[in-house]
């Protein structure tokens, strides 16, 4: 095995010269020292954005959904765009944790912890939107969950909107469990390093008493593999079910069987872009360059190139099928996307998603931090607009021309979108200070000693 391995020249997963103890020291440092100016700066901005969202949200609940730009026929716009966007972001975390694990890709070990955390926070950010968009979220639980009641009413199990409830709840629960199980040995490491009494107590409780016994690792590894194994079909099914929100409807531009694989590929694409943005910042701020190496980032760029091309292929195929089908409404919708009132959003989407990832064919661009950072931001903007284009262009011009109307997002729409980003970054930044952002035990198991 050794001989075969050395034939393929691979970069080391951890910079040479690091010992096991270094891993613990380096990764736990942000937990054990006071944050520096950089962290406070980012945190303040994030909290301010979140505060904007909360303020506007309170106003929304007081006055109703009318504060958004919604009308007839555009009953969904920014709300559902954000929902799909954030769920999509979450999928990259699960892919890195679960799918790369099943493919035995050792390089995932430096990035899976922050990616999984990103998933949890992204799903939280996503889950708010279906609740908020009901206008009266305090009633939402009654509408969504099948609980026995005096009216003997049940929910409609045949509706994709309800499938979403189960899919997203399951996704959140399983991702949380997977993340926490993965954290236990690392929390034990933090516990054993803790000098402060209160820290020791808190991390002792959180560690569940883990001590790294061989008999325990035996069961642990099996459970890790099981969770990875069930998370994989879960991630594929969740975004497929989210795509069914559109595909099951009969609207032109929505009612197409390409949606499930197209959405899943798009989710992985935008999710990796977000992970990349976060990792580039983390490795800089916390000095994790020996662990999150250029090799890791390059591999992620390759995955973005691949999924970006799948998404690009789906765009072209949709167009082709719209023409090939001969359906006048299908053809009209696609011409409308490219040339109608929302063409600006459409062309943002096309340049950001189809053209931008192509730069990653070139090795020097794949390995350049400024290039990949800007590319990841551009890709996320493009993917946000993709969902916006899908939802709004189909809704604002449906089958009946007399129903057509213009749609203009209001300031509340944009403000609450900003708020969801604020929420996401706030909780992520807090996570970075209290839990190890790199999976120490997995990195140690793949590094040379």
């Amino acid at each position: 095995m050794e001989a075969a391995h050395s034939l393929i020249e691979t970069e080391p997963l951890v910079m040479p010269g690091k010992t096991y103890a270094d891993v613990n020291n380096d990764v736990c440092k942000p937990l054990e020292s006071f944050p520096k100016g950089k962290w406070y700066f980012c945190f303040t901005i994030a909290v301010m954005c979140f505060a904007v969202g909360v303020t506007l949200g309170v106003r929304l609940f007081q006055r109703g959904i009318g504060v958004w730009g919604l009308n007839h026929p555009v009953g969904w716009a920014i709300d559902i765009t954000n929902f799909v966007f954030w769920i999509g972001i979450g999928h990259a975390g699960t892919l890195i944790s679960a799918i790369l694990f099943l493919f035995r890709q050792k390089w995932r070990t430096a990035i899976n912890r922050s990616a999984e955390a990103m998933t949890i926070f992204a799903v939280m950010a996503a889950g708010m939107w279906p609740l908020i968009h009901t206008g009266r979220p305090w009633l939402a639980a009654f509408w969504l969950f099948p609980y026995p009641n005096q009216r003997e009413l049940w929910v409609n199990f045949r509706s994709p909107l309800l499938w979403d409830v189960f899919a997203v709840s399951t996704y959140f629960t399983i991702s949380l469990l997977f993340w926490y199980i993965g954290l236990i040995p690392d929390i034990a490491s933090v516990r054993d390093r803790a000098k402060n009494k209160i820290r020791k107590v808190i991390y002792t409780i959180l560690s569940f008493g883990w001590r790294g016994q061989g008999s325990h690792w035996n069961h642990y590894e099996m459970v890790y593999m099981i969770l990875a194994g069930i998370s994989t079909p879960l991630v594929l099914s969740v975004h497929s079910i989210v795509s069914f929100d559109f595909a099951v409807a009969i609207m032109p531009g929505w009612h197409t069987t390409i949606f499930p694989p197209y959405f899943v590929a798009g989710a992985v694409f935008s999710g990796f872009a977000m992970v990349l943005t976060l990792l580039i910042i983390i490795r800089e701020v916390f000095n994790f360059k020996p662990y999150i190496t250029m090799g890791h980032l390059e591999k992620m760029n390759k995955i973005m190139l691949l999924t970006g091309m799948i998404v690009g292929y789906a765009y072209i195929l949709e167009f082709f099928i719209a023409w090939y089908s001969g359906s006048p409404s299908e053809r009209a919708i696609f011409v409308n996307r490219a040339t109608g009132p929302f063409a600006w959003a459409y062309w943002i989407m096309m340049t950001c998603n189809v053209i931008t990832p192509q730069i990653f064919w070139f090795k020097n661009l794949r390995r350049s931090i400024p290039v990949m950072f800007i590319a990841s931001l551009i890709i996320n903007i493009g993917m946000w607009f993709e969902r916006f284009v899908i939802i709004v262009t189909t809704l604002h011009r449906d089958f009946l021309p007399s129903s057509w109307d213009a749609y203009i997002p209001s300031l509340t729409d944009w403000g609450m979108t900003l708020g969801s980003f604020g929420f996401f970054f706030t909780v992520f930044l807090l996570f970075c200070r209290v839990l190890p952002t790199i999976c120490m035990f997995e990195v140690k198991s793949v590094m040379k000693h």
């Binding site: 103890a21 309800l162 390093r193 569940f208 790294g212 061989g214 969770l227």
Partner: protein, 171 residues
């Protein structure tokens, strides 16, 4: 280990620990436990541990989840209060599949995690940490004093052959 009295042999490298465990097992020591910061490839085999039985629980509970989900959907939609929605049949099984699948996974996943905690008997805060470096960069094997072969000199010499760093006595 219910009685935690014995010897803890600490190594600085997983390979040395693996070698030491194999030697101990060859010398008929049965009451062994390893303490490592990460799982070591080959250690379960060296310790004589059999494959974890947890996947069976996952499978059974996933099947239960699937059945409960499909059964509930069918009962509410076809028997308790059937409503004609879009002309779909009352037992519209294709439409029931997404939730069936999700609940299978949910129940399978939750039961797997709960079973893990049952199998490894955690959370448990009774036992103290034997050495703080064992979740960092040291690897150890604990030989319980109640083992039939327990003999301090013999253990020390066996561990010495595998370049043990330190042998701690745990009382």
């Amino acid at each position: 280990m219910s009685t935690e009295k014995g010897l803890l042999a600490i190594f600085d490298c997983p390979d040395k620990l693996l070698e030491a465990v194999k030697k101990l097992r060859a010398a008929q020591y049965k009451k062994l436990e390893t303490y490592t910061p990460f799982p070591i490839h080959g250690m379960e085999h060296a310790l004589g541990l059999s494959r974890s039985w947890i996947p069976w629980v996952t499978f059974v509970m996933a099947m239960v989840g699937m059945t409960v989900a499909f059964g509930f959907e069918t009962w509410t939609s076809a028997f308790d209060w059937p409503i004609n929605i879009g002309g779909k049949p009352f037992i519209s099984w294709p439409a029931f599949i997404p939730i069936t699948f999700e609940l299978a996974i949910l129940l399978g996943g939750i039961s797997t995690v709960v079973t893990l905690f049952y199998a490894i008997k955690l959370p448990c805060y009774k036992f103290k940490v034997l050495d703080e470096r064992l979740t960092n960069d040291k690897f150890a094997v604990f030989i319980c004093a109640t083992d039939a072969q327990f003999d301090r000199e013999r253990i020390s010499s066996l561990m010495g052959e595998s370049q043990v760093e330190e042998i701690k006595s745990i009382d």
